[in-house]
């Protein structure tokens, strides 16, 4: 198990085999019936036993919003904090406690609106956090206002004539913030989400996982075209590192790089198989990942990639903080408080 998740080598292992049940707290889950959050909760609880970590060394930290109730339902340590600040709070915990596996639970409003600053800086610093961003393109807990990921023109309570804001693409934002791991998955696809969670857990440093999640009360069906068996294969491309980026019925569509440098979706038969781009999630240059993140149409959802956009190695911030302290102690010796406060310039009054 330690081989699968070297990034978790400092986290103590469980002494007993675990099941999903071990991660269910005694609190009644209070999301609306039919909410996409249920399946995410179930997927996470089903996945965690695979890590085999001591339950007490796992921490879930959330902000505010429907998704942020998540920690209450996990039988681990957890903190339901304040709106948008979970990445900052988790940063302090990660820096001071290398023996913990820390997960941040956030939503599109929490992470990208009120907490946008903390999100980009946690990603930039590469703090060892796994950030699960539940994106339902709506404010649910405040009963239905448009969010920073809502498509322009959206009719909501606060935008009866249609929203005027241009939307954020969370994957583009994360890549722009120099995130070392960026992925996207779906609330309803247990298998895919588990794969993504596994890859995120294995990553050292910050991992941003955008989860397309359905709010069946205030924005029902926001991702439906990507779930409907009739349309999903035609709209959604699954990114696999090292594999040609192909999708559609009979994998008839593929992504190519045009002579002007842009990416385009083409008919594979017309373009030729050899022209189809192979996905490279490990490329140091985030250019390809960013270009892929821009392919999707935010309204029609045509050409929506899911999977791991980027997964590159870079020492985590918290590790660097600890290593710097260790190096200074090696070089100067542990601090001597009396010597510190005495200083070099003293005199004696007798």
């Amino acid at each position: 198990m330690t081989d699968t998740f070297p990034a978790l080598s400092l986290v103590p292992k469980s002494e007993v085999a675990q099941s999903a049940k071990d991660f269910k707290s005694d609190q009644e889950v209070r999301w609306c019936p039919g909410c996409g959050d249920y399946s995410i909760l179930s997927n996470v609880q089903g996945f965690l036993p695979e890590l085999g970590l001591a339950r007490e060394n796992i921490v879930f930290i959330s902000g505010i919003g429907c998704s942020s109730r998540f920690p209450y339902y996990m039988n681990t340590f957890g903190m339901h904090s304040i709106h948008g600040r979970a990445p900052a709070i988790a940063t302090g915990l990660a820096v001071s406690r290398p023996d913990l596996s820390i997960w941040v639970i956030t939503g599109d409003g929490d992470a990208l609106s009120i907490g946008g600053n903390h999100l980009i800086h946690a990603l930039r610093r590469n703090v060892n956090l796994k950030i699960l961003l539940f994106n339902n393109r709506i404010y649910g807990l405040t009963k239905g206002q448009y969010s920073p990921t809502s498509e322009q023109g959206k009719i909501t309570k606060s935008t009866p004539e249609g929203s005027l804001d241009y939307a954020f693409n969370p994957v583009s934002v994360a890549l722009g913030a120099e995130a070392t791991f960026v992925a996207r998955t779906m609330d309803s696809d247990r298998k895919h989400m588990t794969e993504i969670l596994r890859a995120a857990a294995a990553h050292e440093g910050a991992a941003l996982v955008e989860i397309y999640q359905n709010c069946n009360i205030f924005n029902d069906g926001a991702w439906e075209p990507l779930k409907d068996a009739d349309t999903r294969d035609d709209l959604m491309m699954r990114l696999e590192h090292g594999e040609p980026i192909r999708f559609g019925a009979d994998l008839s569509k593929g992504v190519v790089r045009l002579s002007d440098g842009h990416l385009a979706v083409v008919d594979v038969a017309e373009a030729g198989e050899s022209e189809i781009l192979r996905h490279d999630a490990h490329a140091e240059d985030p250019g390809l990942a960013f270009a892929l993140s821009r392919l999707a149409n935010p309204v029609s959802l045509v050409n929506t990639p899911i999977g791991v956009f980027r997964d590159v190695q870079r020492p985590s911030y918290d590790r660097l903080v600890r290593e710097q302290i260790d190096q200074i102690i090696d070089r100067r010796g542990p601090g001597d408080l009396q010597a510190l406060i005495n200083g070099s310039d003293t005199w004696v009054v007798s």
Binding site: N75, A88, T91, L337, G343, W347, V349
Partner: protein
């Protein structure tokens, strides 16, 4: 040539010049040599918010005032005996504070027509009689420095920049200060620039020799060691470093790693700088993306079992308010250091004020009590940091530590404590379940309180069997589960208040200083007004009026005997560098009529102002 040596009891020098003239450095060096001679001392730096305001202008004047004496003193002095003015702007900005008959040393090189015009002098004050009431020493400091350094292969500009060392050498001779410390300091500072080092040393020696030989100074002064200080090892210390060391001490005395989450802000940044220098104590410092993240990271570290601190000034506190509220709700230990400055808004970044008391007390949504402590002098920052940590850790609560710009940058001698004598702090982490459920199984209730302190258990992640969830939503008393029950909320609000109120049981009674035992007037202060109030009370007593002094280091809760103390005086005066914030709290809590003495000029009270205010109050009795 040997000059007559005159013994003085107390001297106040003010160095004033352009921001780029190195006046703070000159003042620091003079202070250090003075400390080494065993004088008691007190300093007051006063510098502009701009790094380099336009040269030669009044807004660009930077000053450093130092009082030193052969006896115990508590203030940097109301008015200087000696003013060093490096240019016309410095003269213009500071002359009004200089009593007639005082010594005035001016750098004549800078009194050019253009520089005079820049500050609105129609004629040259050195020549038009403006200064005839003063003992003027007109010295061409710049050109004499350049002349002294002509053998060095440095630029004219570099030579000119050494004029502060020339002035320092001159003043050091005049007041019989040492030179070894300054020589050692320069050697370290310019270790990689031998030519600049040699030039600065030469400028210092040249200034010294000039003082010795010039006829402008007919006497040399000495100030004997302060004899009334308690015995022991002393050093000079400024408030911000003392505060940083106090936090490191609290970390050692509690066995908790120190974590600082902070965002740069004047005048608090030096605490971040100081702590960042001492990572060999295991100190973790995170310079966060903003004030909110600074406290957020600290709160996260507190959750993980660190001694967590965030440092800021008033505008930063405003941004941190929500997170402080969360800390109140989570009941986690957290120290919030507010080095107060003039407000509102950006206000006066480099000037001192005490106007955040009510923000600390009430500046959050809901009933959100936070303990407040305040140091009374630069050296007290060390002890108050330990006290803030004690309260935070033992009571699982955020604690405000209200310093201010005057304390942060001012300095005084400090009787260095022995580490062996410092108090210890027990984190008392929860390690076991604390409750037996109805079905007989052991459970952990994160909000089951210590019956005596009402503190909740601190169970950090990694503690087997104590997994639990906490958050900002109201919690059920005991279990900590989400609860919207009205009765429970009422109980929890009262419990949180009672916990903070109960801290009073562990803080010492307020001590009143009334040598006569017959005073009818009490002067009560908090924070950095301690020095000026003490000096004013002494002067008042020498004038024949009995007056009592008391100073609060705990602002929330107050010492238990405060009400009795207030009610035992006919008149209670409360000087504050605000419009009466402590006064308002005292009136509200004790129904005692408080007479405020209030000013917000960005500078500490002058003791003479307080003497006058006390006298005026006495006349109305």
């Amino acid at each position: 040539m040997t000059k007559q040596v005159v013994q003085l009891s107390r001297v106040v020098i003010r160095f004033a010049g352009d921001s780029g003239d190195g006046m703070q450095l000159t003042g620091d060096r003079f202070t250090s040599e003075t400390a080494g001679l065993g004088n008691d001392l007190s300093t007051l730096p006063d510098f502009p918010a701009e790094i380099r305001a336009p040269a030669g202008t009044v807004p660009g004047v930077s000053a450093f005032q130092l009082a030193f004496a052969d006896h115990d003193i508590t203030t940097p002095g109301d008015a200087p005996n000696v003013l060093v003015a490096m240019n016309p702007a410095a003269l213009k900005a500071n002359l009004k504070d200089l009593p007639r008959g005082s010594d005035l040393i001016v750098n004549t090189d800078e009194f050019t027509k253009r520089n005079l015009e820049k500050v609105g002098y129609a004629s040259n004050p050195l020549e038009d009689g403006t200064l005839e009431a003063y003992s003027v020493h007109a010295i061409a400091l710049t050109s004499q420095t350049v002349e002294a350094l002509k053998e060095f292969s440095i630029t004219k500009k570099e030579a000119e920049r050494a004029k502060n060392m020339y002035a320092l050498g001159m003043l050091s001779w005049l007041y019989s200060r040492g030179a070894d410390g300054t020589r050692a300091f320069l050697k370290k500072k310019f270790a990689s620039k031998p030519e600049i080092l040699a030039a600065n040393l030469a400028a210092f020696e040249a200034g010294w020799s000039f003082g010795e030989t010039t006829e402008s100074f007919s006497v040399q002064y000495e100030v004997a060691k302060a004899g009334d200080l308690p015995g022991g090892r002393y050093r000079n210390v400024m408030g911000n470093p003392a505060l940083a060391w106090g936090l490191i001490a609290a970390s050692q005395q509690s066995g908790l790693p120190l974590f600082l989450g902070s965002y740069p802000i004047t005048p608090a940044s030096d605490i971040l700088h100081e702590l960042s220098k001492h990572k060999n104590f295991g100190v973790m410092t995170v310079q966060a993306e903003d004030e909110i993240a600074g406290i957020g990271a600290a709160l996260g570290a507190a959750y993980g079992g660190a001694l967590a601190v965030t440092t800021t000034s008033g505008p930063g506190v405003a941004l941190k308010s929500e997170a402080i509220g969360l800390a109140v709700s989570l009941e986690l230990p957290l120290i919030v250091v507010d080095v107060q400055r003039g407000g509102p808004s950006t206000g006066l970044p480099t000037k001192t004020e005490q106007s955040d008391l009510l923000q600390a007390m009430f500046g959050r949504n809901g009933e959100s009590p936070v303990p407040i402590v305040a140091p009374q002098s630069p050296s007290d920052c060390f002890a108050i940091a330990l006290e803030a940590a004690r309260i935070a850790v033992e009571y699982r609560t955020p604690v405000f530590l209200l310093s201010d710009g005057y304390i942060a940058n001012g300095s005084e001698p400090w009787l260095v404590p022995s580490v062996a004598d410092l108090p210890t702090i027990d984190p008392n982490f929860a390690t076991e379940p604390n409750h037996v459920s109805e079905d007989g199984t052991a459970a952990f209730w994160p909000y089951l309180r210590d019956p005596e302190t009402l503190a909740r258990p601190w169970a950090v992640p990694g503690t087997k069997g104590l997994e639990h969830r906490i958050g900002g939503i109201e919690k059920a008393d005991g279990t900590g589960n989400i609860s919207y029950d009205p009765e429970n909320h009422d109980r929890m609000v009262h419990l949180r208040q009672a916990k903070v109120d109960g801290i009073a049981a562990t803080i010492p009674d307020l001590v009143v200083d009334d040598p006569s035992g017959a005073a009818e007037i009490l002067v009560l202060g908090w924070g950095s007004t301690y020095g000026p109030i003490g000096a004013a009370c002494e002067i008042t007593r020498r004038g024949g009026l009995n007056v009592a002094q008391a100073h609060l280091r705990h602002l929330n809760p107050f010492p238990r005997n405060l009400g009795d103390v207030l009610r035992s005086y006919r008149k209670v005066l409360v000087p504050e560098m605000n419009l009466g914030q402590l006064g308002m709290l005292l009136r509200a809590k004790y129904l005692v009529d408080i007479q405020g003495i209030n000013q917000v000029r960005g500078m500490p009270f002058k003791s003479s102002e307080l003497v006058d205010a006390i006298a005026a109050a006495a006349e109305t009795m």
